[in-house]
Symmetry: C2
Subunit: 343 residues, 2 copies
């Protein structure tokens, strides 16, 4: 029987498809878990079983048609994203069975590759999933934003929105390690506590308990702010513009407040302040800076060894729950890096 | 009689006071023409009779209380601004009777000075009033924005809003002289004609005759734009963000669309595009770049000599009409530089 033959060569694979383009906030019905067959590897290829996958706000952009800087996801096709897996079968001399690898084919159990765009990772250096977070894309996004975009100077005052998130939490701690004053905003008491007790930022704002975010920021930063690390956009950017100093900088990393907007988002209504204050607003994406990855890894592992960086993970178990983990990002469910562990 | 004595020593002076802070668009009643007496000059001082004064959109910011990057104008005190005058009396060896000078005490007939912040001008080089425009603050604003902020590269595509205005008209022509593709927007047929026939820009948009500014810009710049020189903000900035290329730049020079806003201005609602396109938005003000003034004057006089720069002036006669000239800026009345000639 043909099915007997294929048992040994093809792989039954569960994967999450984009079922429909979300209108506003994504809903579970926009995703569909399906089972497919992965054809056998050929010479030069290897087969990976995913252990971890990342869910990140930027993926929302790829769910729109033609709206983002990376190719949009296709309806009826698998989603993609950062993942860590183990090589379980190989006909490639560089990637051996048992190797752990970092790839971009999350949202599925198995994938195969010829090695292009795949990196081996040293499982002795840190827990596997750290290579999706503090030592991966989110950690490097924090580092690039501060070191390469803001050109952070010791002693400056920095405001970080979504400060307990995957990127924000690392931003806060790199800035503290560089002797900066750090003000973080978040929307839940446990996040505020973490920022105070673990990240040890200088001031915190619970924006959900604040009537006037600009006033709250003004009180937290009476001498103004020199860098605003923006993960949120909207009202946070507006508040920051009120208190940014002359010749200051806005690192435009994310604007999660606008990603699900079906109506055009309002604000910031005070953008004209960019002129008088000679503000530089700079957008960036981490993949333009991959030539700096060695510098990043060296600095970040040193910071971790010196106990300067702590990180949290919000782990969801099971590929079947990946869509919920993603959707939860927009409810502020996560503290630190959101991950899905795949059995 | 005391009045006889003072006739020879004090000067009867007409000046325009800020009578009330404008609410929204300034109205004539916000200004008051008064007559005062200027006390006699003393050793080291000189007396100037103004010949020309400048009206500029940025002055609107100074009419708000504490809202701008320069000290706000005070109610019941004279307004200030760029002016050209002639020294009519002097006890200062560097400024002699008959010298023409550039100062910042417009909105009045006479002023005195010890020379601080005052520059002599060479009346042989260009018409006097050019030192308030193409060879003055507005021309230098255009030059600094392109050369120092955008770091303009030959061959790039640039979009200029308020393109026939004092700054925009010079921006367009410097960019053309640097072999750039230039798209200009303006709101009146005679401005559009001037941009086509005199500034010789590559494409024009009459934004008042356009239902969808973003679509119009997309048609004018099918390959996208590399620099947006923003004098307007609001809908123009939003349209530009739609069509800016990756790694492009927004020179934030002015946002006249928001200056009179009593309600917070909406837009740009697509600011998140700054991230994916890695856009740099940079605010600037010309006075930070005064160390470059010699470079500016050398380059600009060369461009003028080579017939690369033409300029227009919208002249209003009489100090008593200065407020109307200023208010007209917000109606788009002016082509090129708005000036008031003082008898």
């Amino acid at each position: 029987m043909e099915s007997d033959m294929s048992t040994s060569t093809t792989t039954s694979n569960r994967e999450v498809h984009l079922h429909s383009r979300p209108d506003g906030k994504p809903s579970p019905s926009d995703f569909k878990l399906i089972t497919s067959e992965l054809s056998p590897i050929v010479e030069g290829e290897f087969l990976v079983k995913n252990k971890w996958m990342s869910v990140d706000p930027y993926m929302r952009g790829r769910m729109k048609d033609g709206e983002s800087y990376v190719e949009p996801f296709q309806i009826g096709k698998s989603l993609e994203g950062g993942c860590i897996g183990k090589v379980v079968e190989s006909q490639n001399s560089e990637f051996k069975e048992g190797d752990y690898v970092l790839g971009n084919l999350g949202w599925r159990e198995y994938w195969k590759s010829n090695g292009e765009g795949v990196a081996k990772i040293d499982a002795n250096l840190a827990p596997l999933q750290a290579f999706l977070g503090v030592l991966g894309m989110t950690g490097m996004t924090a580092w690039v934003g501060l070191k390469r975009v803001a050109e952070l100077q010791p002693g400056c005052t920095i405001f970080v929105s979504a400060a307990s998130g995957a990127v924000g939490s690392i931003v806060c701690q790199i800035a503290k390690a560089n002797n900066c004053q750090v003000i973080g905003s978040a929307g839940k008491p446990e996040k505020i506590e973490w920022l105070q007790d673990v990240a040890k930022v200088d001031a915190v704002i619970n924006y959900k308990e604040t009537n006037n975010l600009s006033d709250a920021l003004g009180k937290a930063a009476p001498d103004g702010i020199d860098v605003y690390f923006d993960n949120v956009g909207g009202d946070h950017l507006e508040a920051a513009l009120d208190h940014l100093n002359d010749f200051s900088c806005v690192v435009c990393c994310g604007m999660i407040s606008t990603y699900n907007a079906t109506e055009p988002s309002a604000a910031p209504r005070n953008l004209f302040k960019i002129i008088g204050k000679r503000i530089r607003m700079q957008g960036f994406i981490v993949r333009d800076h991959m030539h700096d990855r060695d510098d990043f890894l060296r600095e970040m592992t040193t910071l971790i060894r010196d106990d300067k960086i702590h990180w949290e993970e919000t782990v969801t178990d099971g590929l079947e729950n990946a869509a919920d983990a993603f959707i939860g990002l927009f409810d502020g469910d996560n503290l630190g890096k959101s991950l899905v562990r795949i059995k």
